[in-house]
Symmetry: C2
Subunit: 332 residues, 2 copies
């Protein structure tokens, strides 16, 4: 997948801001790629971008209409389809992170074929992969891992990309989930790959590179998540990470979606990740902890982070509030 930018962000008839969180992620991390937003009647989300018609966005240079909103009831409505059809006829490619495929909507498939436009269904891999070969690749790699799902792995990876680039380092996000793919313009939705090829797919999106170049590989799931740990382990082995960052959300009472499963201790989680990572990269090490403290009571976050730093001997940051400079300082 190689999605052309600039983007026009399609928010549809989003029922609230949260429904457009994919578009919000793209606008936040790639403002220079986003020429405007396209909203339909009743849309309750707003990214603060210029509202544009398809034609205006096209004239402003946009190449791809990005569907950055969840579809109500999992259905691509006629109202949406109408806009998407017209976008294709205008000249846009389409990209979406929906469970449903744009390519499965007959009119969109037909118009795209007729006008030679591309449909990027980023949740669905559009190619097959080789089995991982485990051979060392040049260049450096950092992988974000987590105590659980949805604890800030993508956010942390992107904050590191920005921080490292600002420090003059060569760094590129390697996206493994739908929002990350739209932000990076490429990648693979790793949890949708056939099981045999998890590690192979990660090897393919993070090929050999210059010795001082960093791939920042977006982690998924957790080795301690009873539903998804296979994905996390395949990612860890394929990444051949030199550096790991542990992501954590300290107010969780249990693993996401699994009420009977407590979160792992941070030390235990780090040890398990390190042991597994060293199968394919014996010098893998942790370089920092990234904590989402947004649900902690005022005054609790700071002492908690300082406690972690002392206990684990690593910088501990809230990437959103404080940035990731202390972690970037450990990379080079």
């Amino acid at each position: 997948m190689d999605i052309q930018h600039p983007y026009l962000l399609f928010l549809g008839d989003a029922k609230d801001q949260l429904a457009a969180k994919t578009a919000q992620g793209v606008a936040h991390w790639r403002p220079e790629w986003c020429v405007g937003q396209r909203r339909l009647e009743g849309c309750q989300a707003d990214l603060g971008l210029t509202d544009m018609t398809l034609e205006e966005a096209w004239n402003a240079g946009a190449k791809t209409l990005v569907v950055g909103v969840a579809n109500r009831g999992g259905v691509i409505s006629d109202v949406w389809t109408d806009v998407l059809e017209r976008a294709l006829m205008q000249g846009f490619d389409l990209a979406a992170g929906l469970h449903n495929r744009l390519a499965d909507v007959p009119s969109l498939a037909a118009i795209a074929a007729q006008h030679n436009r591309k449909l990027f269904d980023v949740r669905h891999p559009d190619r097959s992969f080789d089995v991982a070969n485990g051979r060392k690749r040049s260049g450096k790699r950092l992988l974000t891992v987590g105590t659980d799902c949805s604890v800030g792995k993508m956010y942390t990876s992107l904050a590191l990309e920005r921080g490292m680039r600002d420090s003059g380092l060569k760094a590129d996000l390697r996206a493994t989930g739908q929002t990350g793919i739209l932000i990076a313009g490429s990648g693979v939705s790793i949890d949708a790959v056939v099981a045999d090829f998890i590690s192979g797919a990660v090897e393919s999106i993070s090929p050999a590179n210059e010795p001082d170049h960093w791939d920042l590989i977006e982690g998924q799931g957790s080795l301690f998540h009873a539903s998804y740990a296979g994905v996390s382990l395949g990612l860890l082995h394929g990444a051949q990470a030199d550096a790991l960052v542990l992501c954590h959300e300290p107010t969780r009472h249990h693993m996401r979606g699994l009420p009977e499963y407590p979160l792992p201790e941070l030390k235990v989680c780090m040890e398990a990740n390190l042991t597994a990572a060293r199968l394919t990269n014996p010098v893998a090490r942790f370089v920092g902890i990234s904590v989402n403290t947004s649900h902690m009571a005022a005054g609790e976050a700071e002492p908690y982070l300082r406690h972690l730093e002392k206990e684990l001997g690593l910088p501990a940051v809230d990437a959103f509030k404080d940035g990731v400079a202390p972690i970037v300082a450990r990379l080079g």
Copy 2:
């Protein structure tokens, strides 16, 4: 998948006995399901079953023609297709463990639809699965795990099934690979499942059962295989194994397909499997070691097994030469 037996085993024009190893496995473990074999001109394999025409096998009660042979060059030849078409018209369902799908051969798909026959492409899951929920299920479960791929996990699982049944225990193979599926008549090719659903697929093929019933879940890969460990970990979590058996082939110089990767120490491999298994079943334990000693020099195997028993405190057997009675004795 629920494949009807008895079977007629199709050996095609197998170039040697090895090419028919899938059929050989079925004939070895389910002789009572195999009414005969169907061989074409030039076939160099022989299972010692009665050679039969399609009509003879049909009259002898066979319900499914099982393609238990590798296809040369990965192509389903016209000669094969001709026999398979006639089998469908005779009344057979078809089952195959090929990489290519029978369902992708237009004439087979058409005739199957027209005559209401089933095509089982056992390498390819024919349904979707739920995400694993990690909840404890009644009944007992044993999983075979390995230091590497192809070290006897299926063979050991089947030897345990036979041994436990002979001892009056309730035991059923839960197959996770193509040959196992043809032997069990059901199962899922776990390495072909979408990554997010590895553990969920294992939960689905090993549902709640009577408290004294054992599922013998066929393991795949190894936690120490840099290409496939994600599959192995998802299997381990989905299995919620009470009992683990470690399978090993001591003459391997490196991990299968990965010349740069040595085999893990048995103790290290057991510890890693136990730690991971205990996420979903805190009382998981090893009950034995199953060693393929066929490539060891004469006189070496016996001392090696006794050494392992002393070192690891568990029965160590060559399941093929000695059977698995000492392991069965630990189950009940």
